[in-house]
């Protein structure tokens, strides 16, 4: 039984973070974008967002949940559902089973998706978060199965569904099995919608391929983190095929906002406030009950206000 089936008590930041900060020593981290040095503890306190250039460093699934949910509220589901090898993929020296074992150890997670329920500022929700370090959070069968189980339990429990996504694309090693997870996850959300339960989708850097072209964009409200790269085809593929230079800011969250594809760009630090507000607004529809009195200080999600 490999070690990665255990839940991680502490973050494993350096391995999992492909665009994250370089750590010159234990005390300081170097921002991947502006190259400035930031005091480590501050960086963590600021949700791993650079105070100089606002670069949102990539997070692991565990960090996501830790930053977003109320402390101690997360109850993980289906941690035992893991990848199989439906195609017996072994070609050109590329053995899927070995790759999965290696990536699981590196990511220190048994799968590319974590699901469960938790609370955001006191509001219950079902949550899914992708683990990019696990084969680029490509959507394999286990990913799809965990996602659908979570949606189905959200329906049973009458809870809203929040997905946090990043993905490098499809899981080639599962071919049509991977492809069909797009249909499978989306079909589950269709049921969620029939039960009048909302789906809020949070797109994070990078988000491409099957995930973007399925469950992550059929949401009632779509948010993205600043600067996140989001698209169907990757920029290199597009450049190769069109032989055009891509415009400045192409496929960024801000670009998608301008092109009408997302509801707002929301800073990481404001996600809990914005989501809890939405959970409050949709509580009536969700729980069939009256809402408490409204008393807000300010309006979150202002960055969407372009």
């Amino acid at each position: 039984m490999p070690d990665f089936f255990r839940r991680k008590p502490t973050f494993n930041r350096d391995d999992a973070d492909q665009d994250g900060p370089v750590v010159p020593d234990g005390l300081w981290v170097k921002c991947h974008k502006c190259k400035d040095l930031v005091y480590s503890k501050d960086f963590e306190r600021w949700y791993r967002v650079c105070p100089k250039c606002d670069h949102h460093a990539r997070l692991t699934a565990t960090q996501r949940i830790d930053y977003l949910l109320d402390s101690g509220s997360f109850e993980e589901w289906d941690r035992g559902i893991v990848t199989a090898d439906p195609l017996s993929f072994d070609a050109n020296g590329d053995v899927y089973k070995e790759k999965v074992q290696k990536t699981a150890r590196k990511a220190d997670q048994p799968e590319s998706l974590i699901t469960g329920r938790g609370r955001i500022r006191g509001y219950d929700a079902v949550v899914s978060a992708t683990e990019f370090a696990f084969l680029g959070a490509s959507m394999g069968s286990a990913f799809g199965e965990k996602f659908v189980r979570a949606v189905e339990r959200a329906i049973e429990l009458r809870l809203p569904f929040i997905s946090i996504s990043s993905s490098g694309g499809a899981r080639m090693h599962e071919s049509t099995f991977s492809l069909m997870q797009m249909a499978k996850t989306t079909a589950a959300l269709s049921r969620l919608g029939e039960h009048k339960l909302p789906h809020f989708s949070i797109l994070t850097d990078p988000c491409y391929g099957g995930v973007t072209a399925s469950y992550a964009t059929v949401a009632d409200i779509i948010m993205a983190e600043p600067g996140a790269m989001i698209g169907f085809a990757g920029p290199r593929v597009i450049e190769q095929i069109t032989r055009q230079k891509l415009p400045q800011g192409f496929q960024t969250a801000e670009f998608l906002l301008e092109h009408g594809m997302i509801d707002m760009v929301c800073r990481r630090s404001e996600l809990p406030a914005t989501l809890s507000l939405l959970l409050l607004h949709y509580a009536d529809a969700t729980m069939g009950r009256h809402q408490p009195e409204y008393a807000y200080a300010g309006t979150p999600g202002e960055e969407g206000d372009s």
Partner: protein
């Protein structure tokens, strides 16, 4: 390595420009076809054809990818790679079909969705995703047939139907063998290896229980066009009649339940829940708990 050659040969056959394309199937089996155009938003995408007509005495709506028979036609049809406007034309036709209770037939034949700049700008991912959502809950019977190349989300976007059939020499995969080889091994010349590894033939997918029937091609479709079209028509009629019967007897909600289960159950994974339970660690992360 004969096995590799075989899958790769299928890919070559599936891509043959002389192979019948969607409009050929429509001409052969849809009477009084009236083609409908446009997404009502931005453009009319020639890589998707759609319309209304009669199939064996009942009105149906048809949607298909459309490749060209030669280079000029292919340039006009963008090699059968739809943009978001094409998928939104399909979406419009799906909703139209639902409104009037017409069954939907789809013909799948695309290397994939268009990966161009304009397609990204107008939300290619969103367009594909919205079709998946719509088809999952569409309240009419639906049948699709992979007639050539079924490539990636661009194929899936019009194939999430009650029945999925494949021509014997068609293929269906998450990506083209070339793209797969380039992504995995930075070497698109390894496409034949990828073709084999991707398990993309009709026989493979039948083995996985992912499709409902293989329409045989005793001779490749482009060498026996009429016979192929007739076989396809007969197969579609058989499946459409079956799901119409289910709908008539058990109601459309039952059909939708079957459709949901069909896609919900696709997947291959392992449940290690019990192993974990025996190795439960004593300490938890601050926010990460488990209900196991």
């Amino acid at each position: 390595m004969t096995e590799v050659t075989r899958a790769w040969d299928r890919v070559q056959l599936a891509r043959k420009p002389e192979r019948p394309h969607s409009l050929d199937y429509i001409a052969a089996m849809i009477s009084g076809f009236v083609e409908l155009h446009g997404d009502r938003r931005y453009s009319d995408d020639p890589a998707i054809v759609a319309g209304v007509g009669a199939f064996n005495g009942r009105t149906v709506m048809v949607v298909g990818h459309q490749k060209g028979a030669n280079t000029r036609e292919n340039l006009d049809r963008n090699f059968g790679m739809p943009g978001p406007d094409g998928y939104r034309k399909a979406l419009r036709v799906f909703r139209h079909a639902e409104k009037f209770g017409f069954p939907v037939l789809c013909f799948i034949d695309t290397p994939g969705a268009d990966p161009g700049l304009g397609s990204e700008e107008r939300g290619q991912a969103t367009a594909v995703a919205e079709n998946l959502l719509e088809l999952a809950s569409l309240r009419v019977p639906s049948v699709s047939v992979v007639i050539g190349e079924g490539g990636s989300g661009g194929a899936l976007a019009i194939s999430v139907t009650d029945r999925l059939l494949m021509l014997e020499n068609s293929v269906y995969a998450v990506a083209s063998p070339e793209a797969c080889a380039a992504i995995l091994w930075k070497d698109s010349s390894a496409a034949p290896d990828a073709a084999e590894a991707l398990k993309l033939t009709a026989q493979d997918l039948m083995g996985f229980g992912m499709i409902d029937e293989i329409i045989p091609e005793p001779e490749p479709a482009h060498e026996a066009m009429d016979a192929t079209l007739q076989r396809a028509s007969a197969a579609i009629e058989r499946h459409l009649s079956e799901i119409e019967k289910i709908t008539a007897e058990d109601g459309i909600d039952h059909l939708l339940e079957l459709r949901y289960q069909k896609y919900r159950n696709i997947g291959s994974w392992v449940d290690r829940q019990e192993e974990i339970l025996t190795e439960l660690p004593s300490s938890f992360a601050s926010a990460v708990h488990t209900n196991d």
